[in-house]
């Protein structure tokens, strides 16, 4: 297992916190940047980093306003998030990189691939949601700012919502660890979803020239991700039947093999 360490760097919104894993002996593979879903943090990649970090330098940042990264001063767009990730790539003096993103993080990948076409090599998306207007209306109403209560009932409600999407293999300790990130910055934790729902993923995906692999687990964005297939110029969808949230921890070895096979193909 590669050792994972945690660090900070400076980007346009302040400090950005990231996890880093790398092989004990340097490899020739390009570094892999990994962006998380909302409202989590780079913690979702912790187990996976230990495995995939054996093959390449991996960087999993906390999106600005999540985990331990400083928040922007107002609700950002996916492009704003991608710009901040670009700052991190520059701060780390990385040249060519591969990117991988989960839900909101997948949109950040696409925006970054468009913003830096020469620098971003291959793209892995864990879900590539194409929403209808009706779905957007429904999702926006669901993912709003938390209303705090004196009696703590907002916490039980949030916990149950989290547990609803629990995948096979989740223990209570695992839920508790991941859930913790959803409690951070409660006044702005909705900004990630807000940015995701305002991003035109269909239009953006059509313009991506890089090779794209979409993982489509059986989660809350499965249906929406199926719609991405005809939009991609140079991509394919790998449907992960029976896999749900947490698959990076539950199916670490298989997931890592799939990621490496795609990234290393043709190199």
């Amino acid at each position: 297992m590669a050792k994972t360490t945690k660090h900070y760097a400076e980007v346009r919104f302040g400090q950005i916190h990231y996890r880093r894993a790398e092989p004990s002996q340097p490899k020739n593979n390009p570094p892999l940047m990994m962006f998380h879903m909302s409202p989590n943090s780079g913690r979702i990649y912790e187990t996976f980093l230990g495995k995939i970090g054996e093959s390449r330098l991996c960087i999993a940042p906390d999106t600005p306003g999540f985990g331990d990264s400083s928040p922007p001063s107002h609700p950002p767009t996916i492009n704003n998030y991608a710009d901040a990730m670009g700052d991190l790539i520059d701060a780390l003096k990385l040249r060519s990189v591969d990117v991988m993103g989960y839900h909101t993080g997948a949109e950040i990948c696409v925006a970054l691939a468009l913003a830096r076409p020469e620098q971003i090599c291959k793209v892995i998306l864990i879900s590539a949601p194409i929403f209808t207007d009706a779905e957007l209306h429904e999702f926006r109403a669901h993912y709003t700012r938390d209303q705090l209560t004196q009696d703590g009932s907002h916490l039980a409600k949030k916990w149950r919502g989290h547990l609803h999407w629990a995948g096979p293999g989740w223990t209570m300790a695992y839920v508790a660890e991941q859930f913790n990130d959803a409690l951070r910055n409660p006044s702005i934790a909705w900004w990630g979803h807000n940015a995701a729902f305002n991003f035109d993923m269909a239009e953006a995906l059509k313009r991506v020239n890089q090779q794209v692999l979409v993982f489509n687990p059986d989660d809350d964005l499965h249906t929406q991700t199926c719609r991405a297939a005809p939009l991609m110029k140079n991509g394919r969808i790998d449907h992960l039947q029976g896999w749900g949230h947490g698959f990076l921890d539950v199916h670490t070895t298989v997931a890592c093999a799939k990621v490496c096979a795609f990234l290393d193909d043709g190199r």
């Binding site: 900070y8 916190h17 938390d146 705090l148 009696d151 703590g152 916490l155 039980a156 149950r160």
Partner: protein, 272 residues
């Protein structure tokens, strides 16, 4: 955060200690200060996040560093439940890594015991000590406390979170908002499998014995919280210090009474 124009920025960093990475917050004035750096240790479970507002104020005239105790916040955990002496030794590692010489220390509940033991381990390096509570328990009280602060059970229905939230509310002082409670609550709920280690270490530490050995100047702040009844007992063994009662103050005072707390801290640390 309090938005005073004079307040300084609080940044976050990692250093190294014997248990792995140690996460800390730092605030410092624009121009170097003659005051010794002030090192802050938090209560259990929580993290250095509880000091953010106070640091933005105190950082105007000195370097202030608030450390996440190993196993809390973002600091790596020891492999087995540690003692207060081991926590303090890890804090010493961080001081060495940061190349700090003379320092003042301030600790909150469990953190106050860490500060005390750091002084015992490094009497030449620690100058003055501020303790937020200095609980001395009887054997009977310790049995009760150990049962109350045992390993947390995570419930499928989320009732553990409701229980913790209500406990935070129960001991919060008047004026503490729900938003202030919510901002730090994540640090209270991290790593429930090992978050009892801090209390476990605190209950195993002989505060009265440590106080008897220390000649350094000590200020004990005694807010009217869950340790209000146990702190006055420290007076019997305090050699060079005094207890300052804070009636009506309780948890959350670092955010509700930030300016007043900074004044108390400066008054003690900067007195000749």
């Amino acid at each position: 955060m309090n938005q005073s124009v004079d307040n300084v920025r609080v940044t976050k960093h990692y250093g190294q200690g014997r248990f792995g990475q140690i996460h800390y917050r730092r605030a410092a004035p624009d121009v170097p200060s003659n005051h010794p750096p002030l090192i802050l240790f938090h209560m259990s479970p929580y993290s250095g996040v509880i000091y953010e507002n106070l640091m933005a104020d105190l950082g105007r005239d000195r370097v202030v560093i608030a450390v996440d105790t190993p196993g809390f916040g973002n600091s790596d955990a020891p492999l087995v439940p540690p003692t207060i002496q081991q926590y303090a030794a890890a804090m010493g590692d961080l001081l060495d890594g940061l190349k700090l010489r003379g320092v003042d220390v301030m600790g909150y509940h469990t953190g106050s015991k860490i500060g005390l033991d750091l002084c015992l381990q490094r009497p030449e390096q620690v100058r003055k000590i501020i303790m937020i509570s200095a609980a001395i328990w009887t054997d009977e009280e310790l049995i009760e406390h150990r049962a109350q602060f045992a390993k947390a059970e995570v419930a499928a229905d989320g009732s553990h979170l409701v229980k913790w939230w209500r406990a935070v509310g129960r001991w919060s002082m008047e004026g503490r908002t729900l938003e202030q409670m919510a901002d730090g609550f994540y640090a209270r709920t991290m790593r429930p499998d090992i978050s009892w280690w801090g209390h476990n270490a605190a209950f195993g530490y002989k505060t009265a014995v440590a106080l008897e050995k220390i000649d350094h100047e000590i200020l004990i702040l005694n807010p009217q919280d869950d340790l209000w009844d146990f702190t006055p007992r420290a007076k019997a063994t305090l050699k060079n210090g005094h207890i300052h009662d804070l009636p009506g103050w309780s948890h959350g005072f670092l955010d509700v009474k930030t300016t007043e707390t900074a004044k108390l801290v400066r008054g003690f640390l900067d007195a000749p």
